[in-house]
Symmetry: C2
Subunit: 347 residues, 2 copies
């Protein structure tokens, strides 16, 4: 089959790789219907050291089960399923606490001898625990629905994790930092959790327009100290109870700490490109909480699925570009150049 490999910064190739097969009795094989490129794929795309052997890449996919191991009980050939961006057994103590990303038997796609999501098919370890069956047909042509369902793999679940860990509710004001796919999904998730005042910090109008559609009540295009001052001005000087940091860069974290209200929470879901956070005496006196982390997407899929199926939310709007598998390198380039917000792949 064909699949995407990354060989180094700026060097993504689609090549022939061995077809996936069942290796363990708990495996399934999934033929990919939709996958996509993630903002976090851009970190290795931007900086990976070149190697002769590429690594498989891609961690978001939705597809049809084509084979199952002897111990798989909850899935059958023909089922349409979505995979979270980490596989997990869904039975260990961490999974039972909703922290599937810390499952000792789990792991991430494209590492530990697993396939990446950006290919024609994927061998799925721990299939019963990992995959969630979707109530749609394998030959569905509803591209908008498939796109929204695909966001359960990562960006919508990640935005939701950010809002949940930040304690967003009907009583909290919210700032979302970042107008990437995760930031926009964080707006959607905050609105879904009841937030009525959602300030989106982002400077790409096409993206912040989606943010407004998702529930943002205010958009602040300015960055840094100027942007923070504007958010405080919008909130009577106090800042917001919850700040959803969806970028991962140190300046975004600094802005987050500058706009969070006393007693409030900064949640971060962008993979941190920094080692330490300024949690000094000032943040101590203001009782600021720093939370978040890699989202246990698996924990949230059942909760988020009904709203997508009934059309009350449409997170798939974050995809503004579709490519074939062979065009994945173009998709990476466009996302890196910020000409595409998020690229969906139809193998």
């Amino acid at each position: 089959m064909r699949a995407t490999l990354i060989y180094g910064a700026g060097d993504v190739r689609v090549e022939d790789v061995p077809d996936p097969t069942i290796r363990a009795a708990t495996d399934a094989v999934v033929r990919v219907l939709r996958s996509c490129v993630c903002g976090s794929d851009l970190w290795p795309y931007g900086s990976r050291t070149a190697t002769e052997h590429g690594d498989r890449i891609g961690h978001e996919f939705l597809g049809v089960v084509t084979d199952v191991g002897a111990d798989v009980v909850g899935l059958a050939r023909g089922d349409v399923v979505v995979a979270p961006f980490a596989f997990a057994d869904n039975t260990c103590e961490f999974c039972r606490e909703g922290l599937h990303t810390s499952c000792p038997d789990g792991g991430f796609w494209g590492s530990q001898d697993t396939d990446g999501g950006q290919g024609e098919a994927v061998r799925v370890p721990l299939a019963d625990g990992t995959l969630v069956k979707l109530p749609i047909e394998a030959d569905s042509t509803d591209s908008a629905l498939l796109a929204s369902l695909l966001t359960l793999s990562d960006v919508y679940a990640t935005g939701h994790h950010c809002a949940v860990t930040a304690g967003v509710s009907g009583r909290t004001t919210v700032t979302v930092i970042g107008d990437g796919a995760v930031g926009l999904c964080a707006v959607l998730a905050a609105r879904r959790l009841g937030a009525e005042r959602i300030i989106l910090m982002g400077r790409h109008t096409a993206r912040t327009d989606i943010g407004r559609r998702f529930g943002a009540t205010d958009v602040v295009a300015e960055r840094g100290a100027e942007g923070a001052a504007l958010v405080r001005e919008l909130t009577g000087g106090a800042g917001t109870h919850a700040v959803l940091e969806c970028v991962g860069l140190e300046p975004a974290l600094r802005t987050a700490l500058a706009v969070v209200r006393a007693g409030g929470t900064v949640s971060r879901v962008g993979v941190p490109q920094y080692d330490s956070a300024r949690m000094d005496r000032g943040t101590f006196l203001r009782n600021i909480t720093l939370t978040g982390g890699v989202a246990p997407a698996r924990a949230y899929i059942e909760e988020l699925l009904p709203g997508i199926l009934d059309g009350s939310v449409e997170p798939g709007l974050v995809f503004d570009r579709a490519v074939s598998l062979d065009d994945v390198p173009t998709g990476y380039r466009e996302m890196a150049d910020r000409t595409a917000l998020k690229v969906i792949i139809t193998p």
Copy 2:
């Protein structure tokens, strides 16, 4: 009257100061029955730059109302009251959210032209909001009860804040770092909130013995990497859900991040003597939360009071040394030398 002033590092004096009087209609004057020296008083005692004019000091006291301003409605002369370590109006939006330490009209004792607690009397701003009436007589001679009630000013409320913000409950395992008065009170608070497994990290046996009495199930005397390894060993390698960091020094925070379980929370209530926390990709992948801050003691007094009155908790056991007001300099020295755990003052 006599009151304590700090002139510089190691230089605390008890001197004559003007008697407090009502200045604002919302003031009360309180004659101090008990006050004490706090671990946080040791920071200026250790490092304050010497000045010619001393600053009033002390922020924990319990006493009898001797005068009230015209607008004070909830208190009368003769009432026995306890003061939290910050005064506040108890009506603003921050106070209503339980964050009295961020009350815009509030402040800290000994600053902003207010009296310190380590004196014969204190003018209390915003008396109705600040003071909590206690159901005891002004001539009570129950020293043990007075000592426990005094901990509502700070250390018991602070330990409780640490446990609450860390999410301690019957389902969480707990590590407490620090065997000072706040650490021991954090043990007590964690036990009260239902924690069944509480590991106390401290190396002073006399103190950790109080910790065991307060509910610690394990004591780890080792520090640093060695201590962290022992805590992980005690918890099957995983660490504890909640870590209550009651020291404020960077090594304690490092230990906290080393013993917290994936998905867990580090709460810090020791005034941070550092500017940044290592919240790197490792903590992100483990979904670690860093929370806590200066405790809004006022928010907790009504909740914590009944357990003291009915004898089910005895936080006053943290006081192992009593001095008269004139002997306060000795009390500071003994606490700084670690020969006293916490010093109570009877003016």
